[in-house]
């Protein structure tokens, strides 16, 4: 419905204005404004507790900002429910992988395709031809994604039995299977060794090359500096810097924030 115009490179696809979020007495996000251009890899960085995951949660509707607004393709999404935001085209992974661990690897990805498909209770129960066709397409697409992520041989495994790196890839493939416009990755390199982290970096760049806008929350500076087009730096819930990685590396406030902790 909303996929009328394909955004050209460099147009603003996601924007936040004056976002403030409080938990009890604590201000987790404080008058935060930012913008993300399409087809870029944007990393949100900052010391621990800066509010990075909170921002992701606000964007995906898990939390509702107390003040401020978030715009996706120019349309306000603050206050929408998480599933609505996912249907609009923003998908994510989580800091601690949230797989459906007793469902199979293949089924996990098939769930990811949910927002793009339609059959409901009646079609499901009666196994109508339309539903059968759609199921076949879902399965084929899911298998294609697993293949891309090198997980196809383990398609029938229980998701919980994969290694950490594999689980991460599975979570990303689930998020991607629904053809999102924006992919939010929350610390995808956490718990990965050097080799796995490099592979993750390569994967992210590859995805961006395929037309994805990617927003990354990461602690691993090597990874961040290596692949990001743009940085947003948070500290104590506020934005203290925004710009290209080289610029932020030299920005006084940013350096202080990191050294200061």
């Amino acid at each position: 419905m909303m996929q009328e115009t394909v955004l050209k490179n460099n147009q603003t696809i996601l924007e936040g204005r004056g976002i403030t979020l409080r938990f009890g007495g604590v201000e987790a996000l404080n008058d935060l404004s930012f913008s993300v251009a399409s087809h870029k890899i944007v990393s949100i960085i900052g010391p621990n507790g800066a509010g990075k995951t909170t921002l992701l949660n606000a964007i995906t509707g898990v939390y509702s900002p107390d003040y401020g607004a978030i715009f996706f393709r120019g349309r306000s999404i603050s206050g929408l429910k998480p599933f609505q935001i996912a249907v609009l085209g923003i998908h994510r992974t989580f800091q601690q992988t949230q797989l459906f661990s007793t469902m199979t690897v293949l089924e996990n990805v098939m769930v990811g395709i949910h927002p793009k498909t339609k059959s409901g209770f009646l079609g499901g129960m009666l196994h109508l031809p339309k539903e059968r066709k759609e199921e076949k397409k879902i399965r084929e697409k899911a298998e294609a994604f697993l293949d891309f992520f090198d997980l196809l041989p383990k398609a029938d495994w229980m998701a919980g039995h994969l290694s950490i790196a594999e689980q991460r890839r599975l979570e990303i493939s689930r998020a991607l299977a629904g053809d999102p416009e924006i992919l939010l990755l929350d610390e995808p390199a956490a718990g990965l060794n050097i080799r796995e982290t490099e592979a993750m970096g390569d994967l992210i760049v590859k995805l961006m090359g395929k037309g994805q806008t990617i927003i990354l929350v990461e602690h691993n500076m090597h990874l961040v500096m290596g692949i990001s087009d743009w940085l947003i730096v948070l500290h104590h819930g506020s934005k203290i810097g925004e710009g290209r990685p080289e610029e932020m590396q030299k920005d006084r406030r940013v350096v202080e924030a990191y050294l200061g902790t």
Binding site: F83, E107, V111, P115, E134
Partner: protein, 315 residues
């Protein structure tokens, strides 16, 4: 549908078809007929509990609603049997929908208590509204089921009808859990946040499956009323709600074949204890405790495990 399930279904259908030949005593048929109705209820409940992860201890209310609505409209107002059954299912569905909206926002044991509370309220209404329901002494004179001139007035005829219906419900449910909706339900019971962020409208799905399970239960209730031709509130107390949840738990949450096992086993069990009627309650409690303590994943899955049948992907 997978080959495995198709084979099971064929074997199951075969057993259902030939079993009555070996049963001369109508008493056994009657027990099996009640078992068939319990299967319908338990499958519906399992979709709600085992798949969508919402426990309800109030389904006796829907069973009773179906029974009383059918009874009252066909016996007192002489409405035709089958359309009334549909209407009863519809009305029950609406009641379930209204209840579901606030109830499914609750978590864990708050949800359980709300469904219990609902059950008790309906139960009390059944008893107190005696001008309509006949009160504690019950409601008699419910017409039997019939199609055209063919009246279902024997246990054997009812057997084929009820087991056919329960077979149909099983089929529809097996289809459902292998479908997109079934995956969404499984996902939301596992990890609601991940499901939401994957685009699943969890609130609506939970409500829908609650309504479906209520409607199936109402169907079973109506069939029950027309079979026994007499109903009383005692059948629809929270004890029945607990019984059907026990059947789900014995069979294993999420396992439809397990539900059949659980329903049949726990329908037969009290009948075997008939001679020691007072022990019925005691043994039920004991069975429930033992299963919950030693087989929390279900007695049926526990048995399967013993025989090495448990697969990697099985819930």
């Amino acid at each position: 549908m997978e080959k495995k399930n198709k084979i099971y279904l064929l074997i199951y259908a075969f057993i259902i078809l030939i079993l009555p030949i070996f049963l001369s005593n109508n008493y056994y048929l009657m027990v099996l007929n009640v078992a068939a109705l319990n299967i319908i209820v338990v499958i519906g409940l399992n979709l709600l509990t085992g798949y969508a992860g919402q426990i309800s201890l109030g389904h006796a209310a829907f069973f009773g609603l179906g029974a009383y609505l059918s009874a009252i409209f066909t016996a007192a107002f002489h409405f035709p049997v089958w359309p009334t059954m549909m209407i009863a299912m519809f009305i029950t569905g609406i009641v379930a929908y209204v209840i579901a909206i606030p109830t499914l926002k609750l978590e864990g044991h708050y949800l359980v208590m709300a469904t219990l509370g609902f059950n008790v309220i309906v139960y009390i209404i059944m008893i107190q509204l005696d001008s309509v329901t006949g009160g504690p002494s019950g409601f008699a004179g419910i017409p039997r089921l019939q199609i055209g001139g063919f009246i279902f007035n024997s246990d054997r005829r009812i057997y084929y009808l009820f087991w056919a219906v329960s077979f149909g419900v099983l089929l529809l449910s097996l289809n459902l859990i292998r479908s997109r909706v079934g995956r969404a339900l499984a996902a939301l019971s596992h990890n609601e946040i991940a499901a939401k962020c994957s685009g699943i409208d969890t609130e609506t799905y939970k409500i829908n499956i609650f309504v479906i399970s209520a409607v199936l239960t109402s169907l079973a209730g109506s069939l029950y009323a027309h079979y026994i031709t007499f109903i009383s509130p005692g059948t629809f107390s929270i004890f029945y709600s607990i019984q059907v949840v026990t059947m789900v738990l014995v069979g294993g949450m999420g396992s439809l074949w397990g539900s059949i096992f659980g329903a049949v086993l726990l329908t037969l069990l009290p009948e075997f204890l008939h001679s020691v009627k007072e022990y019925n309650v005691l043994i039920y409690g004991l069975v429930l405790m033992v299963i919950m303590v030693f087989f929390p994943q279900g007695l049926f899955p526990g048995i399967l495990e013993v025989f090495g049948q448990r697969k990697k992907g099985e819930r």
